[in-house]
């Protein structure tokens, strides 16, 4: 037993205090003058009696309390040879097993499992091990177990994932495991291919003092792998469908050139194209296939390139859905003029998305005409109340309405109109108004944030209708006098935007201005809630079903209320596992496997499932290793950990801190003081009751 602060032990002399109190001070404290000691002297054991300890338990308690507190302040610890302790003490072992996609290269995974099993076999009876499998997120397969059987079973059952590599979260988990452990030795084993991409920057990881981390690299001297890194889709409309040209980017990560690499394109499981390419070492090439006609949604495509030791990155998955044209209905006023000419011409030039325009007079607007339409443009028309109600319901379902407010638009408004329309404002005398404010944060104007993409400031507005926006309306553009030019209102699942000047070419220059075309396209696409579907996503993303659900709502297959609530469905993963989405199932689903996820949303009948293609992170194909020392240097305090049995000698402070005996002693001392206080109080009360009247008067003092 040693002490960190032995000087405190001098305070042990304080133990004499209670003895002094018991034997000396208490007797001297009271002097009783007594008439005669004739009888006192006759009592034979008086001399023994008067010198005996008054109350042994009380005295022992006081001594014990003082001794415990003094020794606690001296910070005791058991000095042991650190090497001997490390060799003989229990071990807390954490095996960090890299299961990222790159570990599927060759026999790396089998070697990694063998290394993990070897570590488990080396555990003694009292050692505990935690098996952590990690890719970009760590997962504890077995926590702090001494059962070699379950540890081995966990290692055998682990498989290579499609995830990327990140060392930091796994090391942080080991750090947490060690901080909770009281074992004498703490050892971590990092079994990995040490991909450079796994260590992106210096992470704040500090293993506890004395903990060791041993890298177990599972690498190959020469790696030769070819990967399909990306796919580009070029679309062209073709006879009501789309022709899609697929171009695949292929990378040779190896040090050896790959001549005549066979690259194939599969569409819905059938090979529709095959190309060859020569790749230089560490070089990239592109392969373009013949165009493919796509008529249906969610067509599954795969580009495969050669075969090598890492098959996962030889395939690239994508989904092709024909980009449907946005169907627009232009509602004109009853007095036919050229008002709709500019609109129809501009929309007819749309490509991504393309627009299909129909025209109808306001008096002939029926709900049937709205079927299949994504956007309705009310072009300066006076609507009947029935027509207004029909359009309101259309917006509620998710439709978009562009209200062009001109001279024929009646004052006031209806439910879907943002704000209240009032009298026209004539700015002729001031040579017309200009747009003084644009909300570039809005998706409609986001494209125009860059000045190189054009300016609206030169457009003259001679007349416009005054409009008073209501609460909740968003003003997207204002004239130079502050009057609203574009106002948006959200109605149910749909969007309504009002333009307070006409588009017939008399009130303003807008239809003739170069900015008219892109502005109208952006407005229509925004109102149609048009989004180009992603052809693929990377492993690690969450499944997002908002786009297909919104489409289903617009098509009337799903109610807006149902979409706003809990979306229910079934997801089939690439490995064939079925996961229930919503309704007591998973709230969200992590896309963790490479391949196609099929999503069937409840209430969509026989509609084909929505498909999401998931690919490996591109950096997983880059097998360039990093020196393990670089990872460990910023992880282990005091430098790189070497061999597994390297044990840093512990300082006295370190040993004391590890044992923390002082805390227990302090608690014991304070508890003894409490008991002593209660006991002495009880004894004092007893004495007072027994004595009643204390001796006093002439014969007593003190």
């Amino acid at each position: 037993m040693s002490f960190l602060a032995p000087l405190f032990l001098t305070a042990l002399a304080a133990i004499a205090v209670p003895i002094f109190v018991h034997l000396i001070q208490r007797e001297r404290r009271t002097v009783v003058e007594f008439p005669s000691l004739m009888f006192v002297q006759r009592i034979p054991y008086q001399s023994v009696e008067r010198r005996r300890i008054h109350n042994w338990p009380l005295l022992l308690l006081r001594i014990a309390a003082l001794a415990a507190i003094v020794v606690a302040f001296a910070r005791p610890f058991t000095a042991v040879d650190p090497v001997q302790a490390a060799a003989s003490g229990d071990r807390e072992v954490v095996v960090l097993l890299d299961r990222s996609a790159s570990m599927g290269y060759g026999d790396r995974w089998a070697r990694a499992q063998a290394e993990a099993r070897r570590i488990v076999d080396g555990l003694s009876g009292s050692d505990r091990a935690t098996i952590v499998a990690f890719d970009d997120t760590p997962e504890e397969l077995v926590r702090a177990s001494s059962d070699a059987g379950s540890l081995r079973a966990a290692i055998d059952a682990a498989t290579v994932s499609s995830g990327g590599t990140r060392f930091a979260p796994a090391l942080r988990l080991a750090q947490s495991r060690f901080s909770m452990s009281g074992a004498a030795r703490k050892e971590a084993f990092l079994i990995s291919d040490f991909q450079r991409s796994g260590w992106v920057r210096q992470e704040d990881i500090a293993l506890p003092e004395g903990a060791t981390i041993t890298p177990v690299p599972v690498v190959d001297d020469d790696v030769a792998t070819v990967a399909v890194a990306s796919v580009a889709l070029q679309r062209e409309p073709f006879s009501g469908a789309e022709r899609v040209t697929v171009t695949a980017g292929v990378v040779n990560r190896g040090a050896v050139a790959v001549p005549g690499l066979d690259v194939s394109l599969e569409i819905d499981g059938r090979v529709v194209g095959r190309q060859t390419i020569d790749l230089e070492p560490q070089a990239t090439g592109a392969v373009t296939f013949e165009p493919v006609t796509v008529a249906e949604s969610d067509v599954q495509g795969i580009v495969r390139a050669g075969t090598d030791a890492l098959p996962a990155d030889n395939s690239f998955y994508f989904v092709i859905s024909p980009v449907r044209p946005v169907r627009v209905l232009v509602v004109d006023g009853d007095a036919a003029d050229q008002a709709g000419l500019f609109l129809r011409t501009a929309l007819g030039l749309g490509r991504e998305p393309s627009f299909v325009v129909e025209q109808v007079q306001a008096s002939r607007l029926t709900p049937e005409l709205l079927s299949g339409k994504a956007v309705v443009i009310v072009n300066d028309a006076a609507l009947s109340s029935a027509a207004a109600e029909t359009l309101g319901a259309f917006a509620e379902r998710g439709g978009g309405i562009l209200l062009v407010v001109g001279e024929r638009t009646p004052p006031g408004g209806w439910a879907a109109v943002p704000g209240t329309v009032s009298a026209p404002v004539d700015r002729m005398e001031a040579r017309g108004a200009t747009l003084g404010y644009l909300d570039y944060s809005h998706p409609v104007f986001e494209q125009f944030r860059d000045p190189r993409n054009g300016s609206f400031s030169a457009i003259r507005f001679i007349r416009y209708r005054a409009m008073q926006p209501q609460e909740g309306d968003r003003v997207l553009a204002r004239f130079d006098d502050g009057a609203p030019a574009l106002v948006e209102r959200r109605v149910g699942a749909g969007r309504v935007i009002a333009l307070t000047s006409s588009l017939n070419g008399t009130w303003n220059e807008l239809p003739r201005h170069a900015m008219f075309l892109p502005l109208l396209h952006e407005l229509a696409a925004y109102l149609a809630q048009h989004e180009t579907p992603e052809a693929w996503v990377t492993v690690g993303r969450m499944l997002d079903v908002s786009a297909p659900v919104a489409a289903l709502v617009r098509e009337g297959q799903l109610s807006a209320a149902g979409a706003a609530g809990d979306v229910r469905g079934v997801v089939v993963t690439p490995s064939g596992r079925q996961v229930t989405l919503g309704a007591g199932g998973a709230e969200s689903i992590l896309l963790s496997e490479q391949g196609f996820y099929s999503v069937r949303i409840a209430g969509t009948g026989n509609r084909p499932p929505y498909v999401v293609a998931v690919n490996l992170a591109p950096e997983e194909s880059d097998l360039t290793p990093i020196d393990p020392a670089l990872v460990l240097a910023s992880t282990v305090p005091g430098g790189v950990a070497g061999a597994p049995m390297d044990v840093e000698p512990l300082s006295a402070a370190g040993m004391e801190k590890r044992q923390s005996l002082w805390w227990s002693l302090l608690v014991v001392g304070l508890a003894a003081l409490l008991v002593e206080g209660a006991l002495s109080n009880r004894l004092s009360k007893k004495v007072v009751r027994r004595v009643g009247v204390q001796p006093g008067g002439a014969g007593t003092e003190g």
């Binding site: 208490r26 007797e27 009783v32 008439p35 000691l37 008054h54 004495v687 027994r690 014969g699």
Partner: protein, 302 residues
């Protein structure tokens, strides 16, 4: 002042008496009140009462011949009385330092002074001669018994102070030769002596024709020993010190004191000495009443 259970008697708390500085007033207060409450007060004039006749023997004073009886019987008879003359009361008052002890209220010496004053007053009312001897290690004061010495006695009692250690046995041995006339000798002391030795010294008084009464004055603390805290005990007389842990010691002490008192009482009865234990916490008149009542009963049976 508090009233006790004896009908007609009112007893005065010693603490109240201690505030009365005039000893005569004190004695009168105690004794008058006590006698007024005692309806059998006439019995106390018994000193001139007729006792018996006996036959005349040559040498008898012819003044005591009962001539009326001679006329009837033609024989000489001498009339004998219970006390044919005024009695002497001599009080032996122990004023050693141990008498200064007081656990609460009145010290033993004060209590003894009250008692002496009361006894003297009582005797003086009966025309007896009163005297007093105070002693510690020596004879401190000696007032011979006289009918005129009542006030000198009170003055002597008032002046008495416990200042020196006592030598009770030596003084008693020394004093016995000084009493020529038969007297009622009253010893007031805390009697820290061996009962055997004490009675051995007192017995000659009895043999000398003296009537002897012993008042054993003790403080309640001397009997009950209420101490509990370990203390340093100092002998008031010798100055000797002794650390005492009274925890289990007290019981033994009480037993010894009990045995001491019982031994004193038994030895005194053996030699027909009146023994009375007085605790300073008891009312003085109550103690006096109890003593005189028992004394009266003993005189009737004589």
């Amino acid at each position: 002042m508090e009233t006790h259970l004896v009908p007609g008697a009112r007893f005065v708390d010693p603490k109240v008496l201690a505030r009365v500085k005039d000893l005569e007033l004190l004695a009168r207060t105690v004794v008058d009140g006590f006698i007024n409450g005692l309806h059998r007060a006439p019995h106390f004039g018994a000193s001139v009462d007729f006792a018996e006749h006996r036959g005349y023997v040559p040498g008898d004073d012819i003044r005591h011949v009962d001539w009326r009886l001679y006329a009837r019987t033609d024989r000489y008879f001498i009339k004998q009385y219970e006390a044919d003359t005024n009695a002497n009361l001599v009080i032996l008052l122990d004023v050693s330092r141990s008498m200064s002890f007081a656990s609460a209220g009145v010290s033993k010496l004060e209590y003894a002074k009250f008692l002496a004053a009361c006894l003297a007053y009582l005797s003086h009312r009966q025309r007896d001669r009163v005297g007093i001897v105070t002693f510690d290690e020596e004879i401190v004061a000696w007032v011979p018994a006289s009918a005129k010495h009542f006030h000198v006695l009170l003055h002597t009692v008032d002046r008495a102070a416990a200042e020196r250690p006592g030598r009770l046995i030596d003084n008693l041995e020394r004093l016995i030769d000084r009493f020529k006339r038969r007297s009622l000798v009253v010893l007031i002391s805390d009697l820290y002596e061996s009962p055997e030795r004490l009675v051995e010294v007192l017995a000659p008084y009895r043999f000398g024709g003296h009537d002897l009464a012993v008042f054993h004055v003790l403080d309640p603390a001397e009997i009950s020993f209420p101490y509990d805290e370990p203390s340093r005990f100092v002998d008031l007389e010798s100055g000797e010190e002794m650390p005492v842990v009274p925890d289990r010691f007290a019981e033994e002490y009480r037993r010894l004191v009990r045995e001491h008192i019982e031994a004193l009482r038994a030895r005194c009865i053996d030699v027909r000495i009146d023994y009375t234990l007085l605790e300073t916490s008891r009312p003085l008149d109550e103690a006096l009443f109890a003593y005189l009542s028992s004394r009266e009963r003993s005189m009737r049976t004589r």
